[in-house]
Symmetry: C2
Subunit: 200 residues, 2 copies
């Protein structure tokens, strides 16, 4: 990630300095990636960004707010391709999500955010909103499949999205993002085909 600036920035007058805001966000991301949530403190971010603590507190009311900001800044490069098969869609989704969580700061950041939400009300509310949006968004995979008759009409697409997210979460939170393709595929197959004997 970015290096700490050689020289501290200064005020640019009676308005917010966007360089400082960027430096703080970059520093927060770098700290999370390099020393993890355990070392993520406002002081550490301020040191890294060569910014004053009041500058952080002026624009982000809490650690949770800074975390959320950093998480939302993450670019999403998740595979939402419509392959015509809901099973394949779900497999690709999970695989690319695991990959993004493994290979970018996104996983570390999201883990921290979930942890923060367990003790901070603000973070908890933001997480609830975020997850609601994710369920709706990921549910589209199922809706598409319903539209072409692949999936039964009675299926609650948000619920299926919930199951998918759940599977991803628990793997993120317990350091199991390195599952091989076959395992992920089998998990998707259980959701798609169920586990009963005698089926297809």
């Amino acid at each position: 990630m970015e290096k700490p600036p050689e020289k501290a920035r200064r005020s640019i007058g009676a308005k917010r300095n966007p360089d400082s805001a960027d430096a703080i966000r970059d520093a927060a991301e770098a700290v999370l990636l390099e020393v993890g949530y355990a070392g993520f403190s406002i002081e550490a971010v301020a040191r890294r960004a060569r910014a004053g603590k009041p500058t952080i507190y002026r624009w982000w009311p809490s650690k949770a707010a800074l975390l959320l900001d950093v998480y939302q800044r993450q670019k999403r490069d998740i595979d939402y391709a419509d392959t015509g098969s809901v099973e394949e869609d779900m497999f690709r989704f999970l695989k690319s999500l695991f990959r993004q969580w493994r290979e970018t700061p996104a996983g570390s950041i999201f883990r921290s955010f979930v942890a923060e939400a367990q003790s901070d009300e603000t973070a908890s509310a933001a997480l609830a909103d975020y997850m609601r949006e994710r369920r709706a968004h990921n549910g589209r995979m199922v809706e598409r499949a319903k539209a072409r008759g692949e999936v039964a009409a009675g299926i609650d697409s948000a619920l299926v999205a919930d199951l998918l997210s759940s599977y991803a979460w628990i793997h993120l939170l317990t350091n199991r993002l390195d599952e091989d393709d076959e395992t992920i595929r089998k998990a998707v197959q259980v959701i798609v085909k169920g586990l009963l004997a005698g089926g297809t």
Copy 2:
């Protein structure tokens, strides 16, 4: 829960005082339940238990160790009944787990433990061990169903247990333990029957 003891205990000689150990565990549980993970500090537990901090650190090497101890002391009253239907077994399991998490300190404690595991290596390792054991244990529901031919032989029972746990976790961690029976049942149905059209 218990009240803080009126008088501090004293040494009972050159061996561990079980009263102190109990008081510390009780206090830890009470602090977690009353002020939550945010207020869970070794100092707060020591105050509540009228114990010295060194006494805590002597027997529990870290906050995570104390958390794990307290969680494992929780009585499990989960419904593992064998109803002859894997769908009914899973529904009862989830419903009773949600209930226990809602109505006892277990949910609050486990949430804290998962959060702690996101920044503490010891807690993370303990959580991984614990979840491995849970997958094996919950997988028995599926194994039973396989034995009677209800579930296809190719199904990985640990993977199904993982899906069940995942669904429970995300509901715990995002304050959604109050799902009604129908929602839980539909989630289980997706796992059991899949979501394809044209099935049973």
